[in-house]
């Protein structure tokens, strides 16, 4: 898959590093001192931050199957026993196409960051598997992780705490080069300066310290650091949440440029649905450790089938709607997200779901493929206002409409927790299998 990488992003002595075209390096976002020039060049700057599109032919670079992460909860007694588990991530499967990006959205505490950390193997998964570039990295040892760290990098949320305040920008960005002995010592400086330029910082800022930079600039430093080792996969955990709106846009555009330029695959974690929609052609919605709906951008945002996705989207204030006076009807969700230590039985969303019925408490809805690139985990999946009266999953699961096992029925073997999409799917309208 490395052949997908543009040649320009090669070794440091490769002088033709692509810093032209749509890159925001034209001083446009330089340091404020010479802001005069910044704005001038900004006017001329080409704006080609193309939103990434889905390419169906892309190979899979990362495949996650039934991933689980349970954090133990200890008792307070003299001997600290494990009395339960935080089921932070519980059976998550997805595929990440090479050069593509998958968005992960959901409310606070639903396990987005944990999923991201599992992929970078900052945690060892409790269960499931992670296959990167054809290699199973689920159990890779600490030593085996070192080369892996070159391939999968992470960008953190908080630009203020994720950079060591006592190190210069140069050593922060250059450290991975030195640790992994990627380039000879005397080549580190020019390489770092190149990277700084790529992310729109002035190469002269090499010797400055993080506190001398604004939030957006620090996030650029974080991005430069992540790019140092030419990763194939970047896990961006809320990369813009801590930034001001105007600065957010700068960073999102930069990430988009970096992706287009170097063909990096992104797992983009955020709670801002609009930002995710802008960045990712494919989006997964998580609730309490599980993916409840995953689909291409158009389907997920325009025709969501899961009641939670529908509620989530209806809750986002919409500038355009409101500006013309209209306001969408909001789906009011009651109460809070339940504790991941004791999640509800059956469907985890049932305690807040306006559609919940008996079957929801008894049987967990499978993540069912209902369209070409659309999966949803709900017994009553359907477009808003068109949810079926009877559970669509009953026959597949071999249960009756109230969720009690139906001895006569034969559960369909198709209903698994497979990553990716298959060529046939369950058509919700016709209640039969369909294909493209």
């Amino acid at each position: 898959m490395s052949n997908q990488r543009p040649d320009g992003f090669g070794m440091p002595n490769d002088n033709q590093l692509p810093v032209t075209g749509g890159m925001p390096n034209e001083d446009a976002f330089g340091i404020g001192e010479n802001a005069e020039d910044d704005a001038a060049s900004f006017v001329e700057a080409e704006r080609a931050h193309a939103a990434s599109v889905f390419r169906p032919d892309a190979e899979t670079i990362l495949e996650v199957r039934d991933l689980r992460m349970y954090f133990p909860v200890k008792s307070a007694g003299i001997v600290r026993r494990t009395i339960g588990h935080v089921q932070a991530v519980d059976g998550v499967s997805f595929q990440l196409p090479a050069g593509g990006s998958l968005g992960l959205v959901g409310e606070s505490g639903c396990g987005k960051s944990t999923t991201g950390r599992l992929i970078t193997r900052l945690y060892e998964p409790t269960g499931g598997s992670i296959v990167f570039d054809g290699k199973d990295i689920t159990k890779t040892s600490a030593r085996g992780l070192k080369p892996l760290r070159r391939e999968i990098q992470m960008i953190f949320q908080d630009p203020y705490t994720s950079l060591n305040p006592r190190h210069t920008v140069g050593s922060i960005v250059g450290a991975p080069l030195a640790i992994h002995h990627v380039v000879p010592k005397n080549k580190i400086l020019p390489r770092v300066q190149e990277l700084l330029e790529i992310v729109g910082l002035n190469p002269e800022h090499y010797n400055r310290y993080p506190h001398e930079f604004s939030g957006g600039q620090r996030q650029r430093i974080g991005i430069a650091r992540a790019l140092t080792l030419q990763p194939k996969v970047l896990v961006a955990d809320e990369p813009v949440s801590a930034l001001d709106v105007s600065i957010q846009a700068q960073v999102i555009n930069l990430l988009q440029d970096v992706q287009n330029e170097f063909g990096i695959s992104f797992l983009f974690v955020a709670h801002d649905l609009a930002v995710v929609r802008h960045f990712c052609p494919e989006v997964a919605v998580m609730y309490l450790g599980k993916i409840v709906e995953i689909a291409d951008r158009e389907t997920l945002y325009n025709r969501p089938n899961h009641p939670y996705t529908q509620a989530l989207l209806s809750a986002v204030p919409d500038i355009k709607q409101a500006s013309v006076g209209g306001r969408r009807e909001r789906i009011r969700l009651q109460g809070d997200v339940p504790s991941p230590i004791n999640p509800p039985s059956g469907c985890r969303f049932r305690t807040r779901c306006p559609l919940a019925q008996e079957i929801c408490a008894r049987v967990e809805p499978p993540l069912l493929q209902v369209g070409k690139r659309h999966k949803v985990a709900c017994h009553f999946a359907g477009e808003l206002g068109h949810h079926p009266d009877r559970p669509v999953t009953a026959s597949l699961l071999g249960v009756d409409d109230s969720g009690t096992p139906n001895p006569g029925a034969t559960p369909s073997a198709e209903v698994g927790n497979e990553p990716g999409f298959s060529d046939t799917w369950f058509d919700l309208e016709r209640k039969t299998m369909a294909s493209a």
Binding site: S75, A76, G77, I78
Partner: protein, 338 residues
């Protein structure tokens, strides 16, 4: 909470064990021969050997340590050597559990020494604590509230002055001038409550307590001031003001409650430290407290006393820590667990 305290006590006991072993090892690693020192200048090698035997210094360090531990648990008799005990039964000293050892230098058990010195140190520390905490907090809060004014600068400068003066200077000044020359108060002597009642007891503690208090107060004034000022910038203080509370109420109910919490930790640890650490003050006022005992034991290579004091003071620090943690949980609802 209970389980937590038990766990902490358990860890504390292990810590004490390690501390005692370290003290033993360090003691024998020093270049001075303790037996020779205990015996006197003109002892012959044979006499030194005899003394070592009587004191048990001839045994391997680890064995001495386990003997000591056994003494703590079940008590001991001195001299250590059964032959010597049999030879002179009239000289045998009982040392019931928890036996911390027998000091040849002072010809008494360590327990007895501590029993004598302990009330003095405790009284002194208590008196000082009372003065320094009330004074420190009072002046600290005043300085914080009047931040930037003459009053604030005066308080800060004065506390800096006291901070800079050595303890012996303040002590000697109070003793020689306030008590002896100007006769403002009678020269302090320690009188136990049982003998002279609370009045005399307090009178005796006034000057030495003040000496210590002035020293500590300086730090507390500055810390209180800093904590109160810091808490004043907290969001919840702004909320309290936005409710329309009077500024005095904002200060007392909202700001000070938060500001004084970290002081609890410091008070606890300083108090425990003071129990054996008021060496200069005790010397100046000739109070035979634990500090003075420790200095003398050190000068005479009196191993049993040293070890006894190390363990005693270690116990204070550990218990003070636990009390502080429990208090913390009482003050701060966020740390209340199970």
């Amino acid at each position: 909470m209970f389980a937590y305290v038990i766990r902490r006590l358990f860890i504390g006991a292990i810590l004490l064990l390690v501390m005692s072993l370290v003290t033993f090892v360090l003691f024998f690693a020093s270049p001075v021969d303790p037996g020779r020192y205990a015996c006197g200048k003109n002892c012959s090698p044979a006499q030194i050997k005899q003394t070592n035997k009587a004191l048990g210094y001839d045994k391997p360090v680890i064995e001495q340590w386990t003997d000591f531990l056994r003494g703590v648990v079940v008590g001991r008799e001195y001299p250590d050597d059964p032959e010597l005990r049999a030879a002179a039964p009239q000289l045998v000293t009982e040392c019931p559990a928890p036996c911390l050892g027998y000091s040849v230098v002072n010809t008494s058990t360590v327990n007895a020494e501590i029993k004598e010195a302990f009330p003095i140190s405790l009284s002194l520390a208590l008196a000082a604590l009372l003065m320094w905490v009330s004074g420190g907090v009072l002046f600290g809060v005043i300085a914080a509230v009047r931040k930037g004014t003459i009053i604030d600068r005066g308080i800060v400068a004065l506390s800096l002055v006291f901070y800079a003066f050595p303890a012996f200077f303040i002590g000697i000044f109070l003793l020689k001038f306030v008590a002896i020359k100007w006769e403002l108060v009678p020269p302090p002597t320690y009188t136990p409550i049982a003998e002279g009642g609370i009045g005399l007891w307090l009178q005796g503690l006034l000057l030495p307590g003040l000496t210590l208090a002035l020293l500590y107060m300086a730090g507390y004034v500055r810390m209180t001031r800093a904590f109160v000022l810091e808490s004043m910038t907290e969001d919840y203080i702004r909320t309290a003001r936005a409710k329309g509370l009077k500024s005095r109420r904002v200060l007392v109910k909202h700001s000070m409650r938060a500001a004084l919490t970290p002081l609890v930790t410091l008070v606890g640890l300083d108090f425990a430290g003071l129990m054996g650490g008021a060496i200069i003050t005790e010397t100046v006022f000739n109070y035979n407290g634990l500090g003075k005992l420790a200095v003398e034991a050190n000068q005479t290579y009196d191993l049993p006393t040293i070890i006894g004091l190390v363990l005693l003071l270690g116990t204070f620090v550990i218990i003070a820590n636990i009390i502080v943690d429990v208090l913390y949980a009482v003050i701060d609802p966020r740390v209340r667990v199970g």
